[in-house]
Symmetry: C2
Subunit: 438 residues, 2 copies
Amino acid sequence: MDFFFYPKSVAIFGSFKEGAIAYEILRNIVEGGFDGRIVPVNPKGGTVEIAGKAFEIRPKLEEPVDAAIIAIPAKFVPSLIDEIGELIKGAVVISAGFSEVGNVELERELVEKARKHGIRIIGPNCAGIFGVHGKFFGSFEVRVKPGGLALISQSGAFGGAALAMGNDERIGFSAFVSYGNAADLNESDFLRYFADDKNTKAIALYIEGVRDGRRFMEALRYAAGKKPVIILKAGKSKSGARAAASHTGSLAGSYEIYRAAFKQAGAIEVEEMEGLFDAAKAFEMYEKAGRRVAVITNSGGPGVLATDKLESLGLEIAQLSDETVEELRSFLPPQCSVKNPIDLIADADYERYKKTIEIVCRDGNVDALLVICVPPIFVPSEEIAKAVIDAECDKPVIVNFMAGELVRDGVKLLEEGGIKNFPTPERAAKALAWLSRR
Amino acid sequence: MDFFFYPKSVAIFGSFKEGAIAYEILRNIVEGGFDGRIVPVNPKGGTVEIAGKAFEIRPKLEEPVDAAIIAIPAKFVPSLIDEIGELIKGAVVISAGFSEVGNVELERELVEKARKHGIRIIGPNCAGIFGVHGKFFGSFEVRVKPGGLALISQSGAFGGAALAMGNDERIGFSAFVSYGNAADLNESDFLRYFADDKNTKAIALYIEGVRDGRRFMEALRYAAGKKPVIILKAGKSKSGARAAASHTGSLAGSYEIYRAAFKQAGAIEVEEMEGLFDAAKAFEMYEKAGRRVAVITNSGGPGVLATDKLESLGLEIAQLSDETVEELRSFLPPQCSVKNPIDLIADADYERYKKTIEIVCRDGNVDALLVICVPPIFVPSEEIAKAVIDAECDKPVIVNFMAGELVRDGVKLLEEGGIKNFPTPERAAKALAWLSRR
């Protein structure tokens, strides 16, 4: 499927009036810096200007391209596929008006034409695709920065919202695919593809239901064996499943069966949309983590909240070794607690954090660290951020700097250092729980 | 306790060097716009300048004031209380170094002196208090905007972080109190006070443990009978309870007993820190909500996620009346789903949202609405925000505009219209669940 996610050339079919879908996709591709060949196609011809660059609109496609993106009225799509079938390797059909509104026959015809020419289809009724490392933004959705997360979304609108929220969370993406009606390619194909894609470090999957349970399980097992697969399943409740059926026409099936299947395949299921991003952030930093966690904090309360959450998620509050306790006791002020959670108290500074992280990290009883910082007194939060960045530690360190504006500079510094921040102690604890499930 | 939260005059004891605790509190009081009398006191005398205003530092307090804020070394506090006891009504003791570090006798002495003079004590070892509507910011924590939430926090640092996060969530506060060791006044006293405070619409309480279970239950029942009381209990797990014991010295006790007690008293318990803010936002808008919810969305996926969460929290997906369905069918495009969740699809505009909200709101089977908006195509998100604001509806409407930057303008408009936004469908669903528990 490289011709979809790393195309060398692309044709776009539709209206190139400003605001039209094809125009918006062309704009995204051009502004995204795609350096392959771009061929806009519309029977009316003419030109279209994007970012000061004029493109000639061809009345028809006459040269071979890797992929076609199609946003013309549904009823014309099958004949277009038949017409250009020998010139393309695959088509992304944005157009709606197929099986999702009852036009099952039209969708069957679309697939038949594709099969006839041996090409693959994404969609129809989808929001398009991104191949971020190939700078190919073949969708009208908001562009994202390059990174390791491939987002596979059955729902186009969910996918679009997730990309924008991912930008807010500063998540880097390798790819995005919204596959709509899944007339040809579906979640199982994309799972396998991204499992082998070298730029993808983790896969996030939003599904309401799947087409072929057995095929899905095989693909999921394959993908989860190679990298973390994070799943958000919608349609878990009775009413939710009913709504999903009317939304994507897919049978949501019994949630209990899905749940067991995800677990058996080694995938990470998250409960809520927020979890999708938090898990993605965790796996962007670490492949996995052990279950024995040390909590380091400069405020008792948040340390207790983290501890509660860790324990309720089945993780262990690590029992620090006697050497660790002694080493900590040797330089920490007497008011500090050297039992896990370790409380460095409010006036903790760079040295106190850095030394503590390093000592605790060397403890054989500790698999992972959860470092909390409420606005420190006497020093700016950047100092503590620097301590976390500078501390030598070869184990996963999950960070919760909290209090919005008061730690903004510290969080910014962390992120520049490649460390993602989790905004509450509980969300940091959940991140460690997901890491421990790999 | 009005002399604490609406004082007419205040004395501050401590060092007024820049960066010192007493200086920071004085600065907060002055910059916060307190228009009562302010008396800085330090044996060395001198002057201190804040925001271009010079204050004479008195060597000792010689005039009566409502409240004293004390940030001098612990060992001098009891004798100071004895000295000024007849001039003040209450004292907030910021100073640390009492029972929390084993100096039980010093704390006993402090209370004894206070009793002798018939005055009340907040603290010691606390972060201070805010009476926001009296523009009295008697703490070094970040100032907040006026509103209806009173925050009572056993942990000072948690309280400070919560205020800053509240600012981020644009929550308005009536008051804040961090009560530290609770040598005299404790959570039960504050619950009763804020239950009767006219500026407080809801109370948020962070506790690790309580002093006197019976007294607490009475106070909680009293307060929850008057307004929503949101509780975040830390020390729920075995390790968490142990950590809490070493942090505030309070016995966390069996969580199951707390949990049952909260429920019995009619308080709203939240699981995580995030829930504290979300619940506060919900109760800032509405007193309560019924259990039958209608979901209105412009994207199927998020509608399904909301439905899942509502049902898992024990709420009902309202069965729309035949009239409602007919009315919706009469003007909505055929692709829209008029079953709950109601899907207005991606091109939904102002009219479609406004009319749908109004029609659904009139349905006798519907108690509350959950309105979702992913970035609309063709219109800016402000249009949908305006529809939500303009729609005539006398039932609770909880809103989830999602996708960060793409709906930022819409969310801003909502907030100017007094409508808080919840960033994910699940968090919006939880808000309705909390409202339904009143």
